[in-house]
Structures are given as structure tokens and as C-alpha cells.
């Protein structure tokens, strides 16, 4: 019991342990709900809900009615869970705090400007979500959920993601890559 308490208080777990447990979560999603884990899908549903209140005509299209309906779906609730899970993880290791900038390595690469960080976080988020739309899912919804079913789509996505991720990191860091 004490050892379990100690484990929960640790800030960092072995990525093997955390990853294996994530595999179990992926299994349970299929076993209990016949659903795939996926973070990006929920954003589509929420964007539809918000869009329909602002511009009902534009968001009354086929996509937000049928493909990814503007509604509180399983995926939206999953997102709410992830938010609480992140909070719980940080609280358990007493590392929860408000902060507006990422870790020191960001500052070494991009400087201390908060406007720059927030601009890139916004732009990056939009790019990630649009890309997930093209690919048919994100790191959780396609790479992990598709990969565990042995869908070729997942491995194509992972290959693309690492190829361009490595290139982008190299461009950002150049001499310090």
C-alpha cells in the first residue's frame, strides 16, 4: 500500500509502465464501449456546437450534422476526462500550478516572449487539428487506436509524423539539433 502511495506521488513514471497502462486503457475502451480512444474527434464536436451558435447557416452543413455531429459525444466526455486526469496527475505529485510558459528549453530555442509562445501554440493547435482531419485521427485516435488494430493507416500516419517532426525540429534547432 505504501509503495503504491509512493508511486502515485512520483512526478515521472517509466514511459514503459505508463505506455503499457495506456494500452490497457485502449483495450478497455473497445471492450467496455466498443469505442476507440481519440482526442481530436471531440474537438470537432465542440467546434460544431460553438459554430452553430455563432453561424448556424455555415455550420449546418453535412459535416457538423452527420460526420462529426455538433453534440456532446463519447469523445467530448473523454476530453473532459483527460483534462481532469492531467490535473489529478499534477496534484498527486504536487506539481500543479498556473504557468503561462513551457519549460526552459522553449526559451532557449524561441526566447522569453509570451506572445510568441502563445501565437505558436495557437497556430500549432490549428495545424494539428486540420492535419488530424486529413489523416483520419491524431496520435491517440489514429496512431495508437488504429495501430493496436493493425490498421495500415496508423503506420503511414506515424511514418509521416516522425519524418516531418524530425525535419521541423532540425530547422528550429539547427546548430543545436
Amino acid at each position: 500500500m505504501n509503495r503504491i502511495r509512493q508511486l502515485f506521488a512520483q512526478e515521472m513514471w517509466s514511459p514503459y509502465l505508463a505506455g503499457a497502462l495506456l494500452g490497457v486503457v485502449g483495450l478497455l475502451a473497445v471492450g467496455l464501449s466498443n469505442h476507440l480512444l481519440g482526442a481530436s474527434g471531440g474537438f470537432e464536436n465542440v467546434a460544431g456546437i460553438l459554430g452553430k451558435t455563432v453561424a448556424p447557416a455555415a455550420f449546418g452543413n453535412m459535416y457538423f450534422n452527420f460526420v462529426m455531429p455538433a453534440a456532446i459525444t463519447w469523445n467530448v466526455i473523454l476530453l473532459v476526462g483527460i483534462l481532469f486526469g492531467g490535473a489529478l496527475g499534477a496534484l498527486s505529485s504536487r506539481t500543479w500550478r498556473w504557468r503561462s510558459m513551457p519549460d526552459k528549453q522553449w526559451i532557449e530555442a524561441f526566447g522569453p516572449s509570451r506572445a510568441k509562445r502563445w501565437g505558436i501554440a495557437f497556430f500549432g493547435g490549428a495545424v494539428l487539428q486540420y492535419a488530424a482531419g486529413i489523416a483520419g485521427g491524431c496520435t491517440s485516435g489514429l496512431a495508437i487506436s488504429g495501430g493496436m488494430l493493425l490498421a495500415p493507416a496508423a503506420f503511414l500516419f506515424i511514418a509521416g509524423m516522425f519524418a516531418s517532426g524530425i525535419l521541423t525540429a532540425w530547422v528550429i534547432y539547427r546548430a543545436r539539433y
Partner: protein
């Protein structure tokens, strides 16, 4: 209804694990692409191996049926992955880790990050009908698995994947990874 409780509980565990693996930190995501910290790869590959074995075993025992397999349309899966990698290396998060990081009190994830995802989602939904039908037709194989596509036993593929993962983990932990030249890697 009970289905949504399952989603909530699984989401909490998912977010908790992303936090404990450190994947809600900018440097952990970027450094997998700099090949100096392979935590993301270790996390993904061990998750995949466990889930593959479990899923195919449970189906073999007749306990579960598979959900709809994510569709393979080579050009879209690959191009989507290529664009996704740019966003991930720039921002230092992906959709799931951004939400978990927002829960940790990271305001750059909570405010511009989540607004970025919602914006991307809105733009995607509004352009879907002119983009998706075209791209999803290129080299489309439908909702297949590798086993079906290549007509091989899935357990052979699972064995190959697991052996490759273990070998890769062994090599990484033996020091086959680039030395970091930055002064602060956190």
C-alpha cells in the same frame, strides 16, 4: 448513459498517464524528434504492443468484436501525418497532451492551444466537403487491417512488432541515442 461514465473514467486515466509519462512537457515531445529523448516512442510502442496482444487475444476468445477499423487512404494518412508532425514539433504538444497539460495549469495549453484546436476543427469541418472526398479516394483500401491486406496471420505481425519494439528499447537504453547539446533540456 453508462457509456459516457466509461468515457469519463478512461479519459481521466489517459490524462493521468500522459502527465506521469511527462508527455505534457514541451521538451519531451520535441526531443523525440531531436532523437535525444525517446520517451514518446517508448510510451507509444509499449502501449501499442500491449493493446495489440490484448485486443487480438480477446477477439480470439470471442469476448469482443472489433470496432470500425480506421480507414486506410494512403495519400491522406501520409500527408496528414506529415502536416501533423510539423505542428507537433512546433507547439510541443498533440491534441491529447495539450488537454492533459491544460489540466496541469498550463495556460499556454489551456487558452491558445485549445482555441487553436477548435479553430482548426471549425476550418476542417467547413472545408471537409471540398477536401476529404478527393483525398480519401487516392490509394484507398477501406477499413482493413494489415493482416487482411497482406493476407497474413495477425499474430505474426504482432510478434514482429513486439520483437522490434523490445529490440529498439534495448538499443535505446544501451545508449544508442544522440547526446543532447543543449544546456537546458527541461
Amino acid at each position: 448513459m453508462s457509456n459516457l461514465w466509461i468515457a469519463l473514467v478512461l479519459g481521466v486515466v489517459f490524462g493521468f498517464l500522459l502527465n506521469k509519462a511527462g508527455l505534457t512537457k514541451y521538451h519531451k515531445i520535441v526531443n523525440v524528434f531531436r532523437l535525444t529523448d525517446m520517451a514518446v516512442l517508448k510510451f507509444m510502442m509499449s502501449g501499442l504492443a500491449v493493446a495489440m496482444i490484448g485486443l487480438y487475444a480477446m477477439r480470439g476468445l470471442g469476448w469482443i468484436t472489433f470496432p470500425v477499423i480506421p480507414a486506410t487512404y494512403v495519400a491522406g494518412n501520409l500527408v496528414g501525418g506529415l502536416v501533423f508532425g510539423v505542428g507537433m514539433a512546433l507547439a510541443g504538444f498533440c491534441p491529447g497532451t495539450c488537454v492533459a497539460g491544460a489540466g496541469e495549469g498550463r495556460l499556454d495549453y489551456l487558452i491558445p492551444g485549445l482555441l487553436g484546436f477548435l479553430t482548426g476543427a471549425a476550418v476542417w469541418g467547413l472545408t471537409y466537403e471540398s477536401v476529404f472526398p478527393q483525398i480519401s479516394r487516392l490509394a484507398a483500401y477501406g477499413n482493413v487491417t494489415l493482416g487482411q491486406m497482406w493476407n497474413v496471420n495477425p499474430w505474426l505481425l504482432i510478434t514482429v512488432f513486439t520483437v522490434m519494439a523490445v529490440l529498439l528499447f534495448y538499443l535505446i537504453d544501451r545508449g544508442l541515442i544522440r547526446k543532447d547539446r543543449l544546456s537546458s533540456t527541461e
